[in-house]
């Protein structure tokens, strides 16, 4: 397959209009396996990519006091049926800058694909970094997704991340995000995942609230059907006065699904306040009966409810 064909395949799998990237004001990088197929950057933003035998090193730095108007797109694809893709990400968002990044990860034909991400992210004082990760997988479950990130959130800085599987089966997924939050910093991490077949979902979202008045909200919403399993270990450690945090975990199980939630709240300052909420259960009966009373059968109705929850 030519690079161009692969690129078209990749964009169409994620439903991305390739002409978006004709706009020189939109920064983007498109990578299939370990090859850069396209890229563009905008003033203030440096992106360096180095190809590795089984992936890439990607360093992204945004200067201080820069606001990037349009979301930056990163497309990571493995179009072949098998392969390993290792992404080493090093991100620095300069003081008081603002950027939003849309990462599309696409393995539409995967039978045996491993996607490993190792990220070091620094969001400097007063900066804002929003990171949306959208996945498209094959229907076989042959994907192994292992993203790991360590994030430093500076004073008054904000880090927001949202993980969503848009299409296909999860396969095996183990997300491990650790954040360290300085004074008045804010972290919001959300994961929305729906598993079926024999999918296995593991989430570790952790926030260390190290600075006074730092805040974190960790949200996970997971649905498991058939024989899928999910384990959510979300954790907030509050170490400073007036730190505030909330861990929210909702899991819906159907069929023989298994869901385990272990929210951990560790508070070491008398002026801090952290709460948690975990709910695991089948689809709510009244919601189900309401949709059924409009003529949907039970399966359709529970799908609508789950899709709503995960939207």
């Amino acid at each position: 397959m030519s690079d161009d064909t692969v690129k078209q395949e990749l964009y169409s799998s994620i439903g991305q209009d390739p002409h978006t990237f004709d706009n020189p004001e939109i920064a983007h990088v498109t990578i299939n396996e370990n090859k850069v197929l396209a890229s563009n950057t905008v003033p203030g933003l440096t992106v360096d990519v180095r190809e590795l035998p089984d992936g890439i090193d990607l360093r992204m730095e945004l200067e201080e006091n820069r606001v990037i108007q349009y979301p930056v797109h990163m497309c990571f694809g493995v179009i072949p049926r098998t392969g390993v893709q290792r992404i080493n990400l090093d991100v620095v968002i300069g003081k008081n800058s603002k950027i939003s990044l849309m990462a599309h990860c696409s393995f539409p034909f995967a039978v045996d694909v491993k996607h490993i991400m190792d990220a070091k992210i620094k969001v400097m004082d007063g900066a804002e970094y929003s990171y949306f990760e959208r996945h498209v997988h094959s229907e076989t479950g042959g994907v192994n997704v292992l993203p790991k990130a360590v994030v430093d959130v500076g004073r008054g800085a904000r880090f927001r991340t949202e993980f969503q599987l848009l299409k296909g089966r999860v396969g095996i997924m183990d997300i491990d995000y650790e954040t360290h939050v300085a004074e008045e910093g804010l972290v919001e991490m959300t994961a929305l995942v729906s598993g079926s077949g024999d999918d296995h979902i593991v989430l570790h979202e952790t926030a260390f609230l190290e600075g006074a008045s730092s805040r974190a909200v960790l949200t996970s919403k997971v649905a498991v059907r058939n024989n899928a399993r999910s384990e959510v270990f979300n954790k907030i450690v509050a170490l400073a006065p007036y730190a505030r945090g909330h861990v929210d975990c909702k899991e819906i199980i159907k069929d023989n699904g298994v869901a385990v939630a272990t929210p951990i709240v560790d508070v070491r300052d008398a002026h801090a306040h952290v709460t948690h909420e975990a709910a695991i259960g089948s689809v709510d009966k009244k919601q189900l009966e309401t949709l059924m009373s409009r003529g949907m059968d039970e399966d359709e109705a529970s799908e609508v409810i789950i899709q709503g929850l995960l939207s």
Binding site: E289, G295, M296, V304, G308
Partner: protein
């Protein structure tokens, strides 16, 4: 307008009884709902109105009843909720469910058969919700009680059912909106839906042709809604105190 002998029943309840836990809630209800008419079921708190609607809809916990329910002449006793709904029976709940994340658009589209986006927007407008404001809001706890009731009604409007039970459609609804809801009911009726209100309200009762007075899980009176309304308002006592059926005051049906 009270029904004539030629009127066709869309729903017939035959000696319906139901126990919940160790309590007998429905005590032998026999009732005919006429196609094309607007009916009202009235009764004090705890009379069994919502229980009756839940039993007709076939909700879990309300399936094990005595007697029979016939829809267009056929027993629906063994049918699930969705089978009953696909026949054309639906219920707007007294306290509608709240979902998480589900958008108004997707909720109201659930019962609609291949409705266009314009059709969905029109239904929202009809119940008094601005589509640009509400279409993509979640049907969750952020909607006010009245807004949630209106979304419920929009969903029913789109479903175009043969028979709709509206359980306290006016609760949480402001005065202006009640008039709008009555217009929606006229629309429903125009499209061939038989409407049954469940209510305590005189204003709602007056919209009906025919009313049933429920007390202690029994129909203790039925007839022209004006007469039932007057009785319900002025004389209705805790049940058992006076039995209007025994006074021979019923209307011919």
């Amino acid at each position: 307008m009270t029904g004539k002998k030629t009127d066709k029943s869309i729903l017939e309840l035959r000696d319906l009884t139901l126990r919940l836990g160790d309590r007998q809630i429905l005590n032998g209800i026999t009732m005919d709902i006429w196609e094309g008419h607007v009916h009202a079921i009235v009764g004090t708190n705890g009379a069994g109105k919502s229980t009756l609607a839940s039993t007709i809809m076939g909700l879990a916990g309300y399936r094990d009843f005595g007697g029979d329910i016939l829809f267009r002449g056929e027993s629906i006793k063994r049918m699930n909720i969705d089978e009953r709904a696909r026949l054309g029976i639906t219920l707007a709940w007294q306290e509608p469910a709240r979902f998480e994340g589900l958008k108004v658009r997707d909720f109201i589209a659930a019962g609609a058969k291949n409705e266009s986006e314009a059709g969905l927007a029109h239904a929202l407008e009809t119940v008094g919700l601005r589509p640009d404001e509400f279409m993509y809001r979640a049907v969750d706890k952020t909607l006010s009680g009245g807004e949630r009731k209106k979304v419920e009604l929009a969903s029913i409007l789109l479903m175009k059912p043969g028979l709709a039970f509206l359980d306290e459609p006016d609760s949480g609804i402001d005065i202006d909106s009640i008039q709008r809801i009555f217009r929606v009911v006229k629309l429903l009726r125009g499209e061939g839906t038989t409407v049954v209100f469940i209510t305590h309200s005189k204003a709602v009762l007056e919209q009906a042709d025919h009313a049933f007075l429920l007390c202690g899980g029994r129909v203790v009176d039925q007839g022209k809604s004006a007469r039932i309304s007057k009785y319900f308002e002025n004389e209705c006592m805790p049940c058992g105190v006076r039995d209007p059926l025994a006074r021979g005051e019923t209307d011919e049906r």
